[in-house]
Symmetry: C2
Amino acid sequence: MTLDLSLLPDGGVSWLDASGPEEDIVLSTRVRLARNLQGRAFTIRASAHDLDAILECVAEAGRATPQLRGVVVFRLDGLDRLDRQLLHERHLVSKELAGLEREGGARHAAALLTNGDIGVMVNEEDHLRIQVLRSGFAIPEAYAQIAQFDGDIGDRVSFAFHPEFGYLTSCPTNAGTGLRASVLIHLPGLVLTKEIAKVLQGLAQVGLTFRGLYGEGSEVVGNFFQLSNQTTLGKSEEELLDHLGKIVRQVIGYEQQARDKLQRNAPTVIADKVWRAYGLLRYARSLSFEETMNLLSAVRLGVGVNLITDLSVYTLNKLLIFTQPAHLAARADRPLGDPELPTMRASYVRRALDEDAARQQKPEPGTDQQP
Amino acid sequence: MTLDLSLLPDGGVSWLDASGPEEDIVLSTRVRLARNLQGRAFTIRASAHDLDAILECVAEAGRATPQLRGVVVFRLDGLDRLDRQLLHERHLVSKELAGLEREGGARHAAALLTNGDIGVMVNEEDHLRIQVLRSGFAIPEAYAQIAQFDGDIGDRVSFAFHPEFGYLTSCPTNAGTGLRASVLIHLPGLVLTKEIAKVLQGLAQVGLTFRGLYGEGSEVVGNFFQLSNQTTLGKSEEELLDHLGKIVRQVIGYEQQARDKLQRNAPTVIADKVWRAYGLLRYARSLSFEETMNLLSAVRLGVGVNLITDLSVYTLNKLLIFTQPAHLAARADRPLGDPELPTMRASYVRRALDEDAARQQKPEPGTDQQP
């Protein structure tokens, strides 16, 4: 089976368009709900027959909801590793569902149901992992969307629910609301001013946790942090989201203060850092993913503080996703190793920045007219 | 007194035009003759009255030669330190004549006579240090020019000459021909292939010596080496120059082999190095002189191996000279310190590269059209 993401509007990454609130600091908001079908064994204990039945049941119910109109079902267990990796790089499925670290690849009947708006991972750790990803800082909007879908699909299947514990999940840390919300936030100012450690410590004290670009177990690169709530039990969905939103709002404030401070105290250092990163991205012939992330981070900061005025956040977002190994391999239509991969990455980056510059139809960003 | 280099054609740096042979590897050829007036104390022992008389005598004789038509006399002892430094940065006078490391500045009656073609430093270590600087690898041409002038001025003044020892000089290492010839050569290939140490050792064995951009005591930066003959005594001018020419020709060959090898064995590494350097020069907001030299070295290599096709060697040469502190201060019309100096340098570099790109009237060098 071959993956055809063209079936999805915008390839399933419409959130990259940077249309949401605070889009230069908060890349995206993600809300997910863990749900399990009543009367069925949890995924890890389910037989192949059970897994098939779970998928069939969820797909049928999903198709019947108005929110999943036009849904496409991607069976992960029928996909090559590169295709599974691509779905993961695109934030459409978890590493677990893609079976990237699992012997034998994706689990039997592991699937993604999505129409680009709402995604349902089936037979992940839980039977259903419903997720909504939106551009910018948009917790209430994302929650409203997912809650409505949760209600509509819940009318068509019975979820395992306990009056005292709430929704039952495979891992007890998810029980209760089954909710996890996270924002992907870019904090270069706090990193440069070395205030980040203090901020991250503060998060832990108020029940929030941070991760890298790809969630649990992924490293922080390019100063991108995923901030999320740590508990799902004992509080209502609204309380959890409200709390997360308030804290994220504070972190955005700290980041803006840090940026102001940098601009005030070390304008030349910041400008130099930002423009060097831009120059390297525009001209390098070989780029590792990590270096690309770090350079994009500096350039994104430059856009945020108005040093770079003619580069779109959309292009920067796109580069985060499309410079990853499986995406580059998909473009080349074959697996890529060293030194081809970093070379293709650099070539892709140059082209994307050139196209963006051409679209802006302004003079070259480097050519300020000072004497 | 204020320095007015506009009195000289091309500001005295016509050799920057990259018109000479092998101009992408050999920046310039310099030949100088040390001469002293007969019957006068050497400079270090001369009184102020003597020094005045020496200058007067040399200036009068110089003006009468056809080669020094339009000569301008710059009195170093009347110039501010920045102006003296500027003349030195422009390779028109030695550090000694400029008095840059001398308490009280330039020596009394220290002067430069030049019309842009030929320069005569008066009251340097010797009464006269005649020098010719030409673009590219041009030893015979430079020598022919200086020899004719030496003959013509020698008809008008008597030089201290001993039938056995030849021309007498303040320091015995210069006695005999009083000749020193040097080429400023760019050897990034040999540095990158790590063959440079072997080549430099070989030079010592055949009586050649190497120095940095600014001659004696200056460090090697940006892979620019000054190669020159070590002895002036016991051989004729022609033998000395012929020997230097042959060795330099060999070194050029080694450098070309090293570049071929790099292009063959590590094309991506070289392309990446070259274009990153170009990107940094075009976008950095703060550049130290040393970093600038190193980046220019990589870009120059890129032009030499045809990776960069639309950038002139003239622009690269100009940047070597005009990014130096006194030159930047002269542009700003005031002394510059940190962080202004590296900021002005970066601004100057960006502008020069932008202007060059505009002159070439081709698409941006970074925007190759590969898919």
